[in-house]
Amino acid sequence: MIAVFESKKMPLVKTVVNGKHIEVERDRWALDVLLEMGVAVPTLCHHPAVEPYGACRLCVVEARKGKWTWLTTSCDLQIREGLNIETDTPSVIRSRRMSMELILSRAPHVESLQRLAADLGVGRPRFGPHYDIGKCILCGLCVRVCDRLIGASAISFVGRGRRRSVTTPFGAASESCTGCGACIAVCPTGHIRSFVEESALNIETWNTRLEMIDCKVCGTPFTAAKLLESVQGRLGKGGSLERVCSKCRRLQMCKRLGEAFHQV
């Protein structure tokens, strides 16, 4: 399943953000609007490439419409006429701190989490993980990116409650993983470990090992064979992929540019 982002022109509606009156396109995600306005909103499970999920609960804001006020995640809140959003009320701060403390208690040694916690005024969490769960905070970014953007669906949430985790089916080597590394790139805590060994890409966390292809210029393995295959498959006959690593390609490009300059 590959996400398609439609941009339909929506009518402008009147909204209030932290007392400031603005006009925004209807149905836009409140978090996007807040970030564009320069309002600092902490997030962990948000990524512009995938649709909102509301897992980390750090982006909560106080929304008000008419006489109703409620705490809600701003990533999946859509802007409507007359919506009033407050981002720094006592209840927002209290809620963010609690969520942060719970997330930090899962993986207290992760620096990026410690920094975010410090920003929110959360120190050492009162709770602790009762067993080793790695650095995963179950934000679901890797699962969503693998499913929606890459279309491989190699990983998913498994189990539930405190046993919930992200793995490949049965924890075995994945057949559908192409080794694109998107999950590693989006993971906010660095939970997914990988290394290259004997020209094979090992994604340790997914128990998956993929053969790599050597750069035809410098000879170092640079990408998983399966990834090249899958990208080639998507390109079809429209284009061919050179088996050159990014370093060598940059060098080639520089050389070509240099030559072009000399000719002028």
Binding site: D147, S153, S156, V158, G159, P169, F170
Partner: protein, 157 residues
């Protein structure tokens, strides 16, 4: 382990290969094999044209699904509030002692599997246990032995 997957195909056929029936399909597969074998999940994913990871995710989400082989008789002991107060611990311990298995385990002869569930919905009969969906209420250690022996004797015939 090699399994005959014809019945899996039959079950999927019954639901027209529609992926929105995934949970029902898995329930039927479990009824057939007593648990959810890995290869059966693979076949389900293949036939419904959905990722195996999604099937696995659903199969592990519901506690009534089991990925490990289970015994012929499934004992479910209730640990709901009423049963917990009225002696769930004694009932569970008695079963464990009698069968030599603890929660989530299966006896060596593959006759009994012991599960603890949150509520069987028969609080008035607390403490309650169910074997193969049949409820036994007002349990005590003596009754536990009687019920279990009933099912064990059944095995011989």
């Amino acid at each position: 382990m090699k399994l005959d997957l014809k019945s899996v195909d039959q079950i999927i056929g019954k639901y027209d290969g529609e992926d929105s029936w995934l949970v029902m399909i898995l329930q039927d597969v479990q009824d057939k094999y007593n648990y959810l074998p890995e290869c059966a999940l693979g076949r389900v994913a293949e036939s419904l044209k959905i990722p195996l990871s999604r099937v696995h995710s659903v199969a592990t989400f519901y506690s009534s699904f089991s990925l490990a082989e289970r015994g012929r008789h499934l004992i479910r002991v209730c640990d709901g509030t009423a049963c917990h107060l009225r002696g769930f611990t004694h009932i569970k311990e008695e079963i464990s002692r009698h069968l030599g298995i603890s929660e989530g385990q299966t006896t060596k002869d593959k006759v009994f599997t012991l599960d603890v569930v949150a509520c069987l919905g028969a609080c008035a009969l607390a403490p309650v246990m169910a074997v193969d969906g049949r409820c036994y209420g007002n349990m005590n250690a003596e009754k536990v032995r009687v019920v279990l022996d009933l099912y064990r004797r059944e095995k011989r015939h």
